[in-house]
């Protein structure tokens, strides 16, 4: 500690070199906090997009259906569909953090357009009022959304995904005939009016997807049925807490129910997350190495140039440990000041980038371009600061060893 002050003074010897070193450390710090901010924002954005795109925070589904297809599967076979789920929904909606619980009924079959084109579809019967309360967002590209009230017989409507609409040759207002097998095994048909065109955000799904009101789907495949219940929460952070509460609430239901959190259903999310993590660690390692290389050279130079002075300090009673502490303190000051500067730059850069509203091309498999936005990640700022202290400590190893080993007489004679 006694040498911290002296070390700080020593940094003023060669201001330009000190400034250059600080700039290197600051740049490394900046790279890390920006990357972390980008990754964190992408994680959060991706998670929220998936949750509010229709995944919900929790899924309550028949345990048999989850076992048959796996937790991550989106489809829940009709033979396991829930009946008489309204009471359960009421209980779940009373739980803390639960915004709404919406029932879904999945239907699969053939769709026929007015010109006779016939395409297989996957559809979902949903409850628009619940979807709204869960914060689900529909990406409407033409026409209008489904009304919230259940359609009267003969007035059923559908939202058709762009790709499917193209294949069927339909626009809003056209009639599509849906053919599907009901729970009893007989083939039913239902004429629906195309209310609007939507996109799911995923190209492959867009070529087959359509959405109905739950009541319309039930008319097609079985009255009163639901494939699953989706639980929407008021905040994503509450997922763990709500998962436990919902599991407790459904324990003992017959047939048994499974509760699956969104993290287990969003396989794609986990993969992206791992990819981003890999990139982050890779970048961190590169920054670490680059900054070590750049700074160890400067630190070595500052020691070499001061040999005579260091010899003098040893001659007048500076211990080896004290000399080492002084040089290490110089390095740590560089790490601290440089990374603090980098953090400040990071805050400014994140604010600037977020304000600028830069657009990025859509990620693979997605449809819409995304805003380039960055999050402030406090852990990344703290982590970058600690990392830079470690970097400078590592960079100081060789110079410290040199200073500690110096022969006083040789150093005094050094010119």
């Amino acid at each position: 500690m006694r040498f911290a002050w002296l070390a700080l003074r020593n940094l003023a010897r060669n201001r330009r070199r000190t400034a250059t070193t600080l700039a290197v450390v600051a740049a490394g710090t900046l790279a890390l906090v920006l990357t972390a901010g980008f990754v964190a924002y992408s994680f959060d954005g991706l998670a929220e997009a998936m949750i509010h795109g229709g995944l919900g925070h929790l899924e309550v589904a028949p345990a048999a259906a989850v076992e048959a297809r796996g937790a991550a599967a989106l489809d829940r076979p009709l033979e396991h569909a829930l009946a008489g789920w309204e009471g359960l929904r009421e209980r779940l909606e009373a739980l803390p953090h639960v915004a709404a619980v919406g029932a879904n009924l999945q239907v699969m079959g053939m769709a026929q357009g007015p010109q006779g084109a016939s395409v297989s579809f996957v559809g979902v019967g949903a409850e628009p009022d619940r979807a709204r309360r869960m914060g689900f967002e529909k990406k409407l590209r033409a026409g209008e959304l489904l009304p919230e009230t259940a359609p009267r017989e003969g007035e059923e409507a559908a939202l058709v995904a762009l790709g499917l609409a193209g294949a069927l040759g339909v626009a809003p207002g056209d009639i599509v005939t849906l053919l599907a097998t009901d729970a009893g095994g007989s083939l039913n048909a239902l004429d629906v009016r195309v209310a609007g065109l939507v996109t799911t955000g995923v190209q492959e799904l867009d070529s087959r997807y359509l959405e109905l009101h739950l009541a319309a789907a039930q008319r097609l495949v079985g009255a009163g049925l639901a494939s699953n219940l989706l639980v929407g929460l008021d905040e994503t952070e509450a997922t763990g807490e709500a998962l436990a509460a919902v599991r407790a609430a459904v324990a003992g239901e017959q047939p048994p129910l499974a509760v699956v959190p969104w993290t287990e259903r969003a396989l794609f999310y986990e993969q992206v997350r791992n990819l981003y993590r890999g990139i982050f660690w890779f970048l961190g390692t590169i920054v670490f190495l680059l900054v070590v290389l750049a700074t160890s050279n400067t630190l070595a130079m500052t020691v070499m140039e001061r040999m005579r002075e260091l010899g003098t300090l040893r001659a007048i009673g500076t211990g080896r440990g004290q000399l080492a502490a002084m040089i290490l303190a110089e390095a740590l000051w560089l790490g601290l000041l440089g990374s603090l500067a980098g953090c400040l730059l990071g805050v400014a850069a994140i604010a600037g980038i977020n304000r600028a509203g830069v657009k990025m091309p859509p990620p693979p498999g997605a449809v819409d371009p995304i805003d380039l936005r960055l999050a402030y990640v406090p852990e990344a700022f703290a982590g970058a600061l600690l990392l830079m202290l470690a970097v400078l400590a590592v960079a100081a190893l060789a110079p410290v060893a040199r200073a500690v080993r110096l022969s006083i007489v040789d150093a005094l004679g050094h010119v």
């Binding site: 002296l6 001659a315 009673g317 080896r320």
Partner: protein, 234 residues
């Protein structure tokens, strides 16, 4: 000197050789010397005669190849590096030809430095360093950095640094070598004053004829041997 009072500094048959490649230089070839506490002595002799080497050995900066160097009765060769460091920090002071002040520290801070090493508190450090700078006549230059002081002033700061912790002995290697003769005279007066007022032992390696002439004890080296010692003769 009475045989009963142990000398402050003593060498017994000290040899120091330097090896550079195949050739070997004997810088000191068997030096026997005693310096009593409170003495002021010069080490004279032609360039290369071994003056600096002798001071390095007496100052626990270097180790002899043969013979012994004793400081206050302790064999320096038998001490661990840590103990030699403490000895230099507490019992010895050094003055160099090129001053060797820390450029980023003020005069006051340079003089404080030996006290800082020893963990003396800030207020006391300041007081003692200021007192010492006053004693060398630099009370008005406390805040100046070395690059804003003249050569003579710098050497005074270095002398204050060498004395602030009240060492038993100060070893000075050509302290006037970088100074003009008038400034050199003033620095010598200062050393003589401090020797009298503080009782500090001074051993000064020098070529300076004026300095040699006015110092009572003169040790003359040639080719690593003592060829004359006015103190012994006296």
């Amino acid at each position: 000197m009475t045989p009963s009072s142990a000398p402050l500094l003593r060498t017994e048959g000290v040899v120091r050789r330097y090896r550079s490649g195949a050739s070997e230089v004997t810088a000191l070839a068997g030096v026997d010397l005693e310096i009593a506490a409170g003495e002021i002595a010069v080490v004279a002799g032609p360039s290369g005669s071994g003056k600096s080497t002798l001071l390095h050995l007496l100052g626990a900066l270097d180790a002899a190849d043969a013979g012994r160097v004793l400081f206050e009765g302790a064999d320096l060769g038998a001490l661990a590096e840590r103990q030699r460091t403490l000895l230099r920090r507490r019992r010895l002071g050094f003055v160099f030809q090129a001053f060797h002040l820390v450029p980023v520290l003020s005069a006051l801070e340079n003089v404080e430095y030996p006290l800082l090493l020893d963990g003396v508190g800030r207020a006391e450090r300041r007081r003692r360093a200021a007192e010492m700078l006053d004693a060398v006549g630099l009370a008005a230059r406390l805040g100046h950095r070395p690059d804003r002081l003249s050569g003579g002033e710098r050497q005074r700061v270095a002398i204050a640094r060498a004395l602030v912790h009240r060492p038993a002995a100060v070893l000075a290697d050509e302290p006037t070598g970088n100074l003009d003769s008038r400034t050199a005279g003033a620095v010598l007066d200062l050393l003589a004053d401090l020797n009298r007022s503080l009782g500090t032992t001074f051993l000064i390696a020098t070529h300076d004829a004026a300095l040699i002439a006015r110092t009572p004890r003169r040790i003359v080296l040639a080719d690593g041997r003592i060829v004359a010692d006015s103190g012994r003769a006296a």
